[in-house]
Structure formats: structure tokens, C-alpha cells
Symmetry: C2
């Protein structure tokens, strides 16, 4: 019964990817918490999670590669494995964004904690929700749910643009807090980029389930 074995292997691959997704989501959410609360221990923890994500990426890639080589899957199974390979890359990049955020947070440890006109917490929650929703769409094989992620991306993009404008003004008026403002700008971009990766994941879920490539359509005509 080689096909039963094959489907068990596909399920194992999906489980492994979902485990990695949980790590990426956690890394991002912890990174925002670490920045907001200036928690150095949590920063280190995020860097540890990021290492675990990198290790998981290699394992998922090898599993996917082995399945392609040994089973020569067709149609939806092939699309699933190709989607896994791409989602794997996006999850790893979310881990990179989280690592970037805590590296910024660690740079701030000697600067005064000031209030800035930027809500990194809410941006982080929105990006986190997009990642969780994309992953749930993968878990439940739900293309409609994946579509809802694509619609959420604009909100994070708009928040990021607003942050940039407001913080440039802060820099001009209060040069003594330039470092804090710059870090907030960069972290806002890290979150916007994480939301883009969630969007990519949702697109890959749709490709897996429907076989249609939804990237670069009119709905999503924007650069990274």
C-alpha cells in the first residue's frame, strides 16, 4: 500500500511545517513584546527560537525534496509539496524579521524610553493575526480563509506608511530621540514585511487548493 504510506508522509510534512509555523508566529509575537517591554531575556529567547526555525527549515526542505524524489506526486499533491517549500521559506523569513526586531530592541537598552506616535503593539497584533490566519487556512485547507489574509495586508501597509511620516517629523523636531524614532521606523517595516510573508503564505495555500497563481494580480499590485 505505497499510496497510504505516501499520504502519511504528506501528513507528516504538513505537521512539521505547522510546528515550524508555530515557532515563527511565536518569535514574531515575542519580539514585539520584547521591544515594547524592553525585556532583554525575551530578546535572547527570540534569537534562540530563530535558530530553531532555521534548523526546522532545513528539515522541512529535505522532507519535501525526498517526497518529490521518491514519490513523484501529481496534481494537488505536487502543488501541496511546492507550496510547503515556499511557505517554509516565508516562515524562515518571518523568523529573520523577529530576530531583526529584537536586535533593534537590544540596541535601545541604553536609550531613554520615550513615547512615540506609533503603535507597534497593534501593528504586531495585526501581523500576528495574519500569520495565524494563513496558518489556520493551511491547517484546514480553507482557501476562503486564506483570501481573507490578502485583504488584511493593506491595513498593515497603511499603518507602516503613517508611522514613517509621523516619525520623520519627530526626528526633525526632537533630534535627541532620533535613535528611538529610527528604531521604531525599522521595526514598523519589519512588521509590514512579516505581514507580506503572511500574504505570500496565504497565496500559496490558495495555489495548493485551487491550482491558480494569485500573485501579482490587480488586488495585490504593490512592491514588497
Amino acid at each position: 500500500m505505497p499510496r497510504i504510506n505516501f499520504h502519511q508522509q504528506l501528513a507528516a510534512l504538513k505537521d512539521r511545517l505547522l510546528g515550524m509555523a508555530a515557532l515563527s508566529q511565536q518569535a514574531l509575537e515575542f519580539s514585539v513584546e520584547a521591544y515594547v517591554s524592553r525585556n532583554g531575556g525575551l530578546c535572547t529567547h527570540v534569537l534562540d527560537i530563530e535558530k530553531a526555525i532555521n534548523a526546522a527549515e532545513t528539515v522541512v526542505d529535505e522532507m519535501a525534496h525526498d517526497l518529490l524524489a521518491k514519490e513523484q506526486p501529481m496534481a494537488i499533491d505536487l502543488r501541496f509539496i511546492l507550496s510547503v517549500i515556499k511557505i517554509n521559506g516565508d516562515l524562515e523569513r518571518i523568523g529573520d524579521q523577529a530576530a531583526n526586531i529584537v536586535q533593534r530592541a537590544m540596541l535601545l537598552k541604553d536609550s531613554a524610553q520615550i513615547s512615540l506616535p506609533v503603535d507597534i503593539q497593534t501593528m504586531g497584533e495585526k501581523a500576528g493575526l495574519m500569520i495565524r490566519t494563513a496558518i489556520q487556512a493551511l491547517l484546514e485547507a480553507d482557501a476562503k480563509l486564506a483570501e481573507s489574509v490578502l485583504l488584511m495586508d493593506d491595513e498593515v501597509d497603511d499603518m507602516n506608511k503613517a508611522v514613517q511620516q509621523e516619525l520623520v517629523e519627530v526626528m526633525q523636531q526632537r533630534p535627541e530621540v532620533s535613535i528611538q524614532a529610527l528604531n521604531a521606523i525599522i521595526i514598523s517595516r519589519n512588521l509590514e514585511r512579516s505581514a507580506d510573508h503572511a500574504t505570500n503564505i496565504a497565496e500559496d495555500v490558495i495555489f495548493w487548493l485551487r491550482g491558480s497563481d494569485v500573485r501579482h494580480n490587480m488586488l495585490l499590485a504593490e512592491a514588497d
Copy 2:
């Protein structure tokens, strides 16, 4: 003679990817030129190239997918197709970075042109050289050449770090040029990230030729 046909298709896939690589490299090099010379026409041209890159990405992905579905390739051929899929994604993201750079350049059109302690031109040349070298390694199936790209990445990383530090000082001392300094910081990051994509491409070339995954080893232990 199905195998001859198969190898013709692999060659066609490689040609298509190399065509796309030429576009990505061009987009990045033009974007730096457009920023340095404040050339609005060139900015628009880069955005047009980026659209062409996005279209090419979809074509390459479909070709790779068709080959996997119809030919069930093994060993080095399978690794080649998987590498093409990943390189395709990195080339598309280099196009995104180029688009980001010209968007920044366009924001500057009403700001005074000032001298900043940052050599975007040289950073752009280094990132461009990394992309060209990675592509040449792909073209010539040269894993040693691909390895040389990995060593070049540190230089761009170091330049980016230095830029960040120096420009924060500029912001503190000359708040009236905060916008220009911030744009230079962001463009420096775009170039550093483009260099990372070149590194990813080189790693994929090595994986294709040697079958070993060189990501996340000690040499490259850094976050995005």
C-alpha cells in the same frame, strides 16, 4: 526520445530564468543610478522593469511546475528545478528592493540634494556584483564561483551597519536633513537585503550542483 525533449525543456527553463535574472540585476543597478542622479524618468523605468519581473516570475514558476508534473525528474534534475523555483523567488524580491529604492528616490524629489557620509553607489556596485556573480555561477554551473558570493556578503553587511551609525549621528546633528538621512538608511538596507538574495541564489546553485544544503551553517550565521 522523451529524455532529449526533457533536457531541452530544462535548458529552456534555465534560459527563461537567466532572462529574468538580467532584468532583476538591471532593475537594481538602475534604481541606484536613479537615486544617485535623481532621475525621475529612470525611476519610472525601474517600476516598469519590476512589472516585467513579476510577469516573468509567474512564467518560470509554471514552467518548473509543469516539468515536475510531467517528467518526474530525479536527482540533479530535480534539484535543478527546485533551485530554479527558489532562485525565481529571490530574483523577484530583488525587483521589489529596486522598486522600493526608486519609490524612496521619488519621495526625495522636492528635498534639497545634500552630501551624506554614505556611499550608496559603491554599495550598489557590490550588491550588483554579487547578483551578477551568482547568476554567472548558475549559467556556468560553477559551485566554486557560487561560493565566492557567500564571502562577499559580509562586506555589504558591514557597510550597511556603518551607514546606520553614521546617519543616526547626522540626524541628531542636522535634523533638517532627517528625511534625506532616513532615505539613505532605508536604501542601504534595501541593498543589503539584495545582497542577501544574491547569497540565497548562490546557495541554491551550490545545492543544485552538490546536493548539500549550505544555509544556516557557521559561515552564514546571521539574520536577514
